[in-house]
Symmetry: C2
Subunit: 335 residues, 2 copies
């Protein structure tokens, strides 16, 4: 035993106690924006079981994969998908270089602010708008465009930045899961390159942990330098049955926790809830017309009749925003 | 200051010294299977710069993405791609259920062990063999099939398990990079589901950090349970210009280190070497006919004329296996 052995042993003991106290302190008060009720308890219990070796609900660390939808699950999707607002803003910004758009649909309706006509053009119109604004540039250029836009674009009703319209309870849930050894992923029907541009700063989720819809890419050379270009052709629609497909393509493991809010998340929730071992499906239910929006079964955005039926039938965890959350956004009003 | 403050402060000091000593010990002897020469020094220097804040070569932790080809870079690809051996073994195992294969190419040639005829059938023949053996089952079923096979299949010349024919210096490099905050990925031209089945145990790389070729998937219900089925249609050929595409699909970041050994890795190496900040391209050169195989420019498997030209032109790090590695496989012979 050398001269340092005893002090080190003593010191480790002290540091051990001290760390343990910190952990205990934290674990008695996780998820502060969640009300202390059965919903919160279900989550805390699941995680406690998952991390307790020997318990029935134990999940080995490597298998702790948690996936969450973005629009309507991690941030506000009303009155319009944020990415659609981005695309419309981009059409307006690009219009000067495209004088022909004044007389060409769907650009004409966008430029005239005629949302009724735009809606009538349906999915083909939308696809053209997405293609025009999400391809023809390198992945690096697209990231810069998104970052510039999202730093200043504001929600039409609250006046908050879109990145301030994330759900504080969900941001806490992501952090709580990570603190318990879960790898947290976003699995979005939205464009993967759009979300990857800002997700690390906003959710603490790095770009490599985002699954989403995407166009095709092409590796090319420009001015003697390699570039990865974004093409207009669709490669994956990461929605509905496409979500488990996207999860397999990118993650290659079946998630044990999935959170969503609409029928577009149904198959992803089924996939996580039906694991051989423990699994948890979480359905966010928009019930708070005062602090956010109240919508569900037949909403144009975030329709959830099938998901709600299935959640009720199988006893999935339904999060009632009005009942279960004491806070919705990180800050509720403008300064 | 409470009564514990002083002991804790003292203890932290001691633990700090002790940990520092351990780290220093380890960092003076990384990569033991690499000879102490300029090649090894290049790697060590790059990593030291990458992890030294304020240095010209510093790379923020979040951007430390390192990608490696598998066949011929992390494990032996001669005399045949391991996955092709797997597919041929599967055709033989499945033949009883397919009596028609006795008279149908390319199965006929496989069952008769007529490799010359099989080679003449070219890529379309190979595609049929891959489709027949890599689709029609769920992702879970496929994983079980691969795991069962790889636990017993042996290399025809060394008699070692294929998982014992990984390159020890590269396994050490992966661990060295991870110890320095790099996220290590496999980016393989082979099938992603094939590699994901065993990569965690063999390389310490989890399934979610593998990019590879893949077929399409279909989310379905079977006996009331959700399954993800493997379809025969190709979704991504993760080879050549497909490698940066696969990297963008799955990782969404540009790697700062890439390692490969053939022309199929060329674009991935260009992608990593040409970052705005520091980047390193590593080309494994198979020069050791005694301990492994010597092949390069015009080899049927692992052809590398373009990659070698580009590496020489741009000063990429060429790893000469005979010169730079004092050990090739974890154990050189059968017990």
């Amino acid at each position: 035993m050398n001269q340092f052995a005893t002090p080190i042993a003593v010191s480790l003991l002290f540091v051990g106690c001290w760390c343990h106290a910190l952990v205990a302190e934290e674990s008695t008060q996780p998820l502060p924006s969640w009300n202390d009720n059965a919903t919160k308890q279900s989550i805390v219990d699941f995680v406690e079981q998952a991390t307790t070796e020997g318990s029935e609900g134990f999940i080995p660390p490597a298998e702790r994969i948690a996936v969450f939808d973005n629009d309507g699950t991690l941030w506000c999707e009303q009155p319009a998908y944020v990415q659609l607002v981005f695309a419309i803003d981009r059409i307006k910004a690009m219009a000067e270089a495209h004088p022909e758009w004044k007389n060409e649909e769907p650009y004409k309706s966008v430029l005239e602010g005629d949302m009724a006509s735009l809606k009538k053009l349906g999915k083909p119109g939308l696809a053209k708008i997405i293609a025009a604004t999400h391809s023809g540039m390198s992945v690096d250029e697209f990231r810069s465009i998104v970052n510039e836009w999202i730093a200043s674009a504001r929600h039409p009703e609250t006046g908050l930045l879109y990145t301030e319209m994330t759900y504080q309870p969900m941001v806490e849930l992501l952090a709580f899961l990570r603190a318990n050894g879960f790898k947290t992923y976003i699995v979005t029907g939205g464009g993967v390159d759009f979300v990857r541009a800002w997700c690390e700063e906003v959710y603490g989720i790095p770009p490599e942990q985002v699954v989403g819809s995407r166009g095709k890419y092409k590796f090319d050379q420009r001015y003697g330098q390699p570039v990865l270009m974004k093409l207009p052709q669709i490669d994956l629609i990461d929605d509905g049955p496409g979500k488990p497909v996207g999860i397999q393509q990118v993650i290659g493991r079946r998630p044990v926790i999935a959170g969503g809010n609409s029928d577009g998340d149904l198959q992803m929730l089924q996939w996580a809830a039906n694991t051989v071992g423990p699994g948890m499906a979480i359905l966010i239910h928009h019930t708070d017309a005062t602090r956010e929006y109240a919508y569900d079964r037949d909403s144009l955005i975030g329709r959830s009749d099938k998901a709600l039926d299935e959640a009720e039938k199988h006893g999935w965890l339904i999060v009632d925003m009005r009942r279960d959350w004491n806070k919705i956004f990180p800050r509720e009003t403008l300064d």
